[in-house]
Every structure is written in C-alpha cells, then in structure tokens.
Symmetry: C2
Subunit: 361 residues, 2 copies
C-alpha cells in the first residue's frame, strides 16, 4: 500500500519513547456525536451501517482532524469494538439512547450457541474487510496529515458484552461465567484474543500506523481475577501481533493498551509488551509517571467531565497533567481519561487542545 | 435508652482496633431482595414505605441476623441513603427494576429549587424520626445478639443523586456542577454534610452502635476533584460527630467510611478521622493492609460477583482476604467489597460466611 509520506509523526515517535517537541494530542472518541458535522454526515443511517461504509467511516474519522487542524496529532478510525463479536457470528444492534444490544447473548457454556461460537472458524479478513477498506480510504484522504490509529476491544471487555448482551452495571453474567465456568471462559477469551491479533494485523496491513486495545471493563475485575481473565489475553495480543506482522512482511507498529479502571495493574501493564499505557482520570499524573519509571509512554488522562466545565477548570486539569506527565518533556501522549462524552461543546474541546499547546510550549 | 447488654461485641472491638478472637463478619445490603423472606415481609409495599415503617424496617433488618445466626456479627438498619435528600425536601421514588428516581433534580444554581433547598432549615429530628424509631425498635428486638449499624450517604454521593435525578453512567450533571459551579456545589455539599452529622447523631441517640458513611460514587472523581469535593465533607462528618454526641451526653461510637472506587485516596482515608475504612474488591488485601499500616481497621472486600460462582471460587477469594487482611490476626472486618447483588443464592452467601469462619479458626 502506498500513501503520501507522513508529515506529522509526533504520535508515533512519542509512542516509541523518542523525543518530541511537544506532547502529541488526540482524544478517544474524537469522531463522534458531540460534533454537529457527525450528525450531518451520518444522517439517519444505523450506527453499524456507518462503520461498514468505508466512505462514511472515513468521512467521520476525518471530521475532528479537519475541525481541529494543527491542534491534534492523530486520527482514529471510526468503528466500534463490537465488530469482533459480529464477525464471530453474533448479532449486535445499536439501540438509540441505550447503546449496543445483543438479542442473543451467550447464556452458559452448555447452551448450543457457545459451542457454535467456539467451533466457528472466523475468517477475519473476509468478515472485517470493511474495516480494512475504511482504513485504506482514510489513509488516502488523510494524505499524511496525521497518523491513523486502528483499534480493537480487549478479550475481557468483548466477553462481557457477549455474555451480558449489552451495557450493564452489575455484571451478573460476566461474574457468573468467570467464577462458575472459568475454563469455558478462558477458552472463549483465548479465541477472542486470537481474532484480535488477526484483526489488528489486518488493520496494519490496510494502513493503521498505531493500534490500541480497549479494555473498558478491566476495572470490574479484582486483581486476582484480572490476573486470570484480563492480563494474559492482553499479553497474548502484544506478544503475537509483532510476529504476525513480520510474517506478513509488515513493519511493527506501536501498541497501546487502555485497561480502564485496572489501577492496581499499572505496574504490570508497564511490562506487558505495549509501548503505551492509557490511563483513566483516577490516576494522579505525577504518581503514575513515578510508577511507570520510563518503561512506557503514558497516555491520558483528563476527566472527560471537565469538558462540561468552565475554562478555569480545564486549565487546572491541563496544568496537573502537564506538571505530572511532562516533567521530563517526554513519554506522554495527551488525551482524556476516557472517550468524549455526549453534549460536549466542540469549542470547549478546542480550548482543551489549545491549553495543552499553550502549557507545553 | 435502655437495651439488653450486648452479647457479641466483636464488631465494635475490632472497629476500635482491639484484639478479637476472629474477624467480625457482616455484609453490605445483607437485608435485601436476595432473601425470599424479604419479599414475604415487604409484600407489595413501596420501598420507601418499608423504610418509613419501624415495624417493617426492623423485621427486614433482623432477617439476615436470624437466618445466619452465629455466622454474622452485626445488623445494619434497613434504610436508604436517599432519606437525606427526602428530608431536604426532594421527592425520591423507587422505580421497580430501575432504581431511585427524582422527578425534579437540581438543574443549576440559578434555578429556584437550588435556592429553596439551600434556604430550607431541615429539622432532621422531625423529618427522619422514622429512622430513629426503626433503630430503637430493632435494638429492642435484637436483644443484644449483635450490634446495630446506622448509616448515611456521603455528601458527594447524595449530591450526585440530587443533580442527576437517579443512577447514571456518565455523571454529566455532577461534572457540570463541580467544574462549572464549584462554589454552589461546595455550599450544597456543606449543607448535606451538616445534615449527615445531625442524622448520624440521631441514629446513635436512638441506639446505633457504629455508623458507616457510604460514598458510593467517590470513584467518579479525579484525585484533585476528590480533594475538593469528596474528602473535606467526609472529614467534616468524622470531625463533628464525636463532638455532637458529647453535647448530647452520648458515648462516641466507631465510624466507618466507605469511599468506593477512590483507591488513590486510601492513604488519606486512613488519616481522615474514621476508625474503619471500607474497601472495594479492586484492592489487593495484602497491599491495602500495607498502606493502612495499622492506622485503621480495614473492612471488605470480596467481589460480590463471586457469590454467583462455585465453592472453589469463593474459597479462593476468602483465602486471599484472610491471608492479606488477617496476617497479624487483627484490624479486619470481613465483608464484601460492595453490597450483595440481586439473584444471589442465600445458601451461597452462607457458604461464604462459613469459609471465613473455617479459615480464621
């Protein structure tokens, strides 16, 4: 694949631990519903229909890059972590104002559906070709302005959705599986982890220049349970993706892990084979930097809720990040501690970006 | 108030840091909907109607004490943290399968409702007399079998409910308030904190022998925001309750703080004037014990989800707790890391209690 040369490699260099002139900036879910142009481009299309259309997905991906030109340093492909369960044969619908919903979640290892899912050989290249196409088209449209990030959901998080059937507060089914059916759970987690490796390799082959694994529900697991059901599968991905890329004749790309809520595992995550560790907003920046001891680049971590606040609150939050993460002028990718939430004013987000620029000059 | 002498003071002694023969045991939300006898006694009464009836509330409080006689060491009054917003003049309904709902949450400091709430002098004794009556009746019925715990919601958590109008995932309103209207937020938090002091004193006067403050949403705040909007109001309660009790001619009682999710503040919470610090299940027991350095008694912290598991999973979780918390045979109150969740089999919970007994013999 031939694309125009990258003009802004700040993100990739920072991810690899190299020196950069200022911290690269992007935010999770930067292409999304807080942008009026998102709604214009999406129209009344279904959410997953947008993911499946390379034209729409690339348009949405580029919107924040264009709106915040010169302020942000990366694009992240417009897609969803639940494309993997879909590729595995599960139906997932996006219900307005409710979120994702699986009409037929996995009930127990003894029902026929689990067996079916376990036995199905998933042809990742065929099932998720539309993501590859969206990435390639987006790279072409980006024309080297900023690098493009690919991503997938982590095995534990995807597993939760597959057994809960959607968002949940209590995680009744997920906890039942891990504490009652640990072996069947691990078998499924392993299967998902293998698909993650294939899927991320597919994204890199299509043009993704950095990949991030989102473990959004890591913070539901106790340290002992995370050691059993979370971390090994994150490690499986970081251990196998570089090798897979080599087999495909591709250069390695930096890898980021974001295990939201798994504060207790920060030290281990710094040794888990990823170049970048994403942090949620419960970490004090200076303390996290101390724990990381330069082993990885840290990414984060402003409370997305500060974007509902006034400018003084945003400035204070950025100051705390800059002071903590940028004390040695390296090893930080500026971001939020979670995705942009609905109802955020795009101009407030712009001010957040501008403050990072101003305070790291 | 005269009650029968306490036959089992294990909880109170452990809370005060004294030596006990084995760790006292109780679990949060032990009187609740997982018990079939709860539904029998509640009938089709509204949830808050049960809280307001001393007869029903005391019956529900005693159910786990009777079912698990000899296995648990405390009762906790059947009530709800939202009785304070009700006493402040807000309407709160309990909606089946949805949870609490405020038809008129506080929208902004500039709407009339905020002013009204701020100006209202709350007569805690009059408004929450039903809780006092329930406590006194329960103490009488307990006849000294185990001590009775009183409780209230923490200012930050009650504030979230009052501005969100119910449970939430995104905390849009709460974050808007703290980051946009910090002064109005603090004024309201202070008002709630003063009511908490009055309310806990009322409960002790009525017969509560230990009190717990539940800060269920502490983990939504960044360390900087918790320092501004969480901890000061928890400290206000622990600093003022003993004095208030003294003024009333009452003996001090042990105080417990449970700031769920605020892992980053554990060290500070150990110096915040409480005797006991409750922990959620994300803390590794041995590491938490190390951080606490004997300053407080720790309470917790099994993942409530393990009660959906098999016996091997429960045993493993109890072993981790016993090894970590009970290493020096003191300073631990065995509990879950959050309340009992729905659909738990009462016999599974019994096994959890039995395993704590067996492994601390």
């Amino acid at each position: 694949m031939q694309f125009e040369p990258l003009k802004n490699d700040r993100l990739l260099r920072a991810a690899r631990g190299e020196t950069v002139d200022r911290p690269p900036i992007w935010v999770m879910r930067q292409a999304g519903r807080y942008l009026p142009e998102y709604h214009d481009a999406k129209g009344d299309r279904d959410f997953f229909e947008c993911c499946r259309s390379p034209e729409i997905a690339s348009t949405l991906t580029l919107q924040p890059v264009e709106r915040y030109a010169g302020l942000i340093d990366a694009a992240i492909i417009f897609s969803d972590i639940l494309v993997i369960p879909q590729a595995m044969g599960m139906t997932v619908e996006m219900v307005d104002k409710k979120g994702p919903s699986f009409p037929e979640p996995l009930k127990s290892p003894n029902d026929g559906q689990y067996e079916k899912i376990m036995q199905k050989q998933v042809d990742v290249k065929a099932e998720l070709d539309y993501v590859a196409k969206a990435i390639t088209l987006t790279r072409t449209k980006l024309a080297g302005r900023v690098p493009l990030i690919g991503f997938c959901g982590a095995p534990w998080t995807l597993f939760c959705y597959m057994v809960e059937g959607g968002g949940t507060k209590l995680f009744v089914q997920s906890k039942t599986w891990i504490y009652k059916y640990p072996d069947a759970t691990k078998a499924l987690l392993q299967k998902i982890a293998d698909i993650c490796v294939d899927f991320l390799a597919l994204q890199v082959a299509a043009g993704a220049q950095l990949v991030q694994v989102f473990d959004s529900w890591a913070g539901e697991l106790s340290p002992a349970a995370f050691a059993d059901f979370g971390l090994p599968y994150l490690r499986h991905i970081s251990a196998n993706l570089p090798q897979r890329l080599q087999e495909l004749g591709l250069e390695p790309v930096p890898m980021t892990v974001f295990a939201k809520g798994a504060w207790f595992a920060l030290d281990e995550l710094c040794d888990s084979g990823y170049n970048v560790v994403g942090l949620d907003w419960l970490h004090d920046p200076a303390e996290a930097k101390q724990i990381a001891r330069g082993r990885v680049t840290l990414q984060g971590n402003a409370d997305p809720g500060v974007l509902y606040g006034d400018r003084a609150a945003i400035t204070k939050t950025v100051e705390t990040m800059v002071k903590g993460f940028w004390s040695d002028k390296k090893g930080w990718i500026a971001n939020l501690g979670h995705g942009v939430t609905p109802f955020v004013d795009p101009d407030t987000l712009k001010f957040f970006f501008e403050e990072i620029h101003r305070l790291t000059q």
